[in-house]
């Protein structure tokens, strides 16, 4: 019966192709969106895996850029058991760079991209930061960058370390990316670039690193305030416990280990996935309607055939199975085409996306796409199949012959 069903599907290739397109596009959408969602998870996961310490922020602030804490809190944090280094930081959205700011980016038509690319300033208390084993930017500079990182000798000096991405986006007068030794104007003040780093993450490669005093001066932050503390523990596997201890010692702060960040991000992406699924469900619904339409047309034209099958002993169930099998095959084909398109799309998209986003098409996602398509196809075929199966053989032949 399988071969018979398959051949029936190929009888009207144009109609089958149209129905196939109608279903494969939503499947492509499902796989593309989940691939994107997976890519974002990977990117954030990779980013957070580079940050091995605990971030201490003002309670209920989403980012250190919006956090303010007293500079005196550092002394309290150092007393918490398991803490190795407490490194104060000042964060802020970078004032205009070479005369360009975020509003300018938005107006220049870069849209939401300019929000992701908006550089931020991080002022590091250089002495404790030099004691860190898990500092992200010095490691990134050493591995893929050039120049040198900030040291105690740079305290108070207008020296900065920027990412290669910022160097490219704010090129020199010759149009070439900024180099070590060049000057970059931030907030109208000249800063000398002493190092270039590259983490590969779009979340990290937007940071302009400088001495904390220089940053305070640039961002107008008073000496008795910091934005956050980067806390390194004696034993990184102990991060969650240390974070809990910090929050107990100072209830007005939030101490987040990266595993907690990841869990929060995972929960957020779970909500995003639900929203995506709802959106895609609508597209799938259109696909189902397309299948119903195709199969209804197909079965309406084949009343005589069903009557003949019934006269030859086919039961209602056999006719139901035949038509359902045809629509399931249509779903399978659509799933295969949708998956193939999604794989090609992901391969092409990965050539163009940057910033650590890697779109992936794991086997489970292909199985999900094909499975969803088969289920959609089967569901779409049920009503036409039921309609074909309930025909009285005599009526089917008579009505179909007219």
């Amino acid at each position: 019966m399988g071969r018979f069903a398959w051949r029936n599907l190929l009888t009207l290739p144009v109609r089958t192709a149209l129905a196939l397109i109608g279903l494969s596009i939503p499947i492509l959408g499902v796989m593309g969106l989940f691939s994107l969602s997976g890519g974002l998870r990977n990117m954030v996961g990779d980013t957070l895996s580079k940050v091995e310490g605990v971030m201490v922020l003002r309670e209920n602030t989403p980012s250190p850029v919006f956090s303010q804490l007293p500079a005196s809190l550092g002394a309290t944090l150092r007393t918490v058991s398991g803490v190795r280094v407490v490194a104060p930081e000042v964060w802020g959205i970078a004032p205009n760079i070479e005369g360009r700011n975020m509003i300018g980016g938005l107006l220049a038509g870069k849209g939401a991209q300019s929000l992701f690319d908006q550089p931020v300033v991080q002022g590091q208390d250089l002495v404790p930061h030099q004691q860190l084993h898990s500092a992200v930017y010095p490691r990134a500079l050493k591995e893929k960058g050039e120049g040198r990182f900030l040291t105690a000798a740079d305290v108070g000096a207008p020296h900065i370390v920027i990412s290669r991405k910022i160097a490219r986006e704010y090129p020199g007068p010759d149009g070439k990316p900024r180099k070590v030794g060049d000057t970059l104007h931030v907030g109208g003040k000249p800063f000398q670039i002493i190092g270039l780093y590259e983490t590969g993450s779009m979340l990290l490669d937007v940071v302009i690193v400088m001495d904390i005093a220089t940053a305070r001066d640039l961002l107008k932050v008073s000496d008795d305030m910091v934005s956050s503390y980067y806390v390194e523990t004696v034993n990184p596997t102990d991060n969650d416990r240390v974070a809990d201890a910090i929050e107990k010692a100072e209830p007005s702060v939030e101490a987040r280990s990266m595993s907690e960040f990841m869990a929060n991000f995972g929960a957020l992406m779970g909500q995003v996935d639900k929203f995506l699924l709802m959106t895609v469900s609508l597209a799938l619904l259109v696909g189902v309607v397309g299948i119903i339409n195709t199969m209804l047309m197909s079965t309406s034209e084949r009343f005589v055939e069903f009557g003949v099958l019934r006269t030859n002993g086919w039961s209602r169930g056999d006719v139901l199975a035949l038509v359902t099998l045809e629509s399931a095959f249509l779903g399978l084909l659509s799933g295969a085409v949708g998956s193939a398109l999604a794989m090609v799309g992901v391969a092409v998209a990965n050539q163009f996306v940057s910033g650590g986003v890697r779109l992936a098409m794991p086997p489970w996602l292909i199985a999900l796409g094909v499975g969803l398509s088969v289920v959609t196809g089967t569901l779409g075929g049920l009503y036409p199949a039921w309609r074909a199966a309930r025909l009285v053989p005599m009526d089917a032949i008579r009505v179909g012959s007219r």
Partner: protein, 240 residues
Amino acid sequence: MIEVVDVKKSYKSGDRQVDALRGVSCRIAKGRFAFIVGPSGSGKSTLLYLLGALDGPTAGTIRVEGRELTAMSEAEQNAYRRDKVGFIFQSFNLISNLTAVENVLVPFLPRGIPDGMRERAERLLSEVGLGDRLDHRPYQLSGGEQQRVAIARALIKDPVLVLGDEPTGELDSKTGDEIYRILRRLQAQHKTTLVVVTHDRRFITPDDLVLEILDGRLKDDEPAAGSDPQDDLAEAEIGL
């Protein structure tokens, strides 16, 4: 033996009630070649389809080889159509996506083709002169050839009864003659009962049983007041 006792069939056509059969009784002996004749709309095809359990009568009983069709469950009727009855239609009604041999094997497609059945299908197609066209699709065959495939399909199950609804209605007279020659040869060979609806009386021989239907009743079978339908059975058997 086929026994039809006081069979009535009514159906709705829009708001109108149509009495297609108004109490038909007849008996067809095993191995006979029976013709159902009559004008269009007289109820010929309705009677034929009732004999094939393609629909149920409104009243009355039909027995084929001792089994009462009207008492069968749907599954039993499916099995009856699959194993005991062959159909030949005016429009051939082959499945366009299947080859000649696959069309012959259609009754067995849902549950798998039994051992030896493919060889039997090929033999039957050879018997109707299509041994060299086994893998041809219907569109590659002439009308006469398609009808011969339909005959082979009707006989593949070694049926007790073959029902034909105007089997030569869409064929020229020469091809029609050929089809009847094949039908008579195969009927003699397979000892099958054949019941054929036709408008064309030239295919009827004196040995055949003729059931003439007029306005839903067998001609010469007008029910007398208070008569027992069983009494009519023998009359239908008279034939010409």
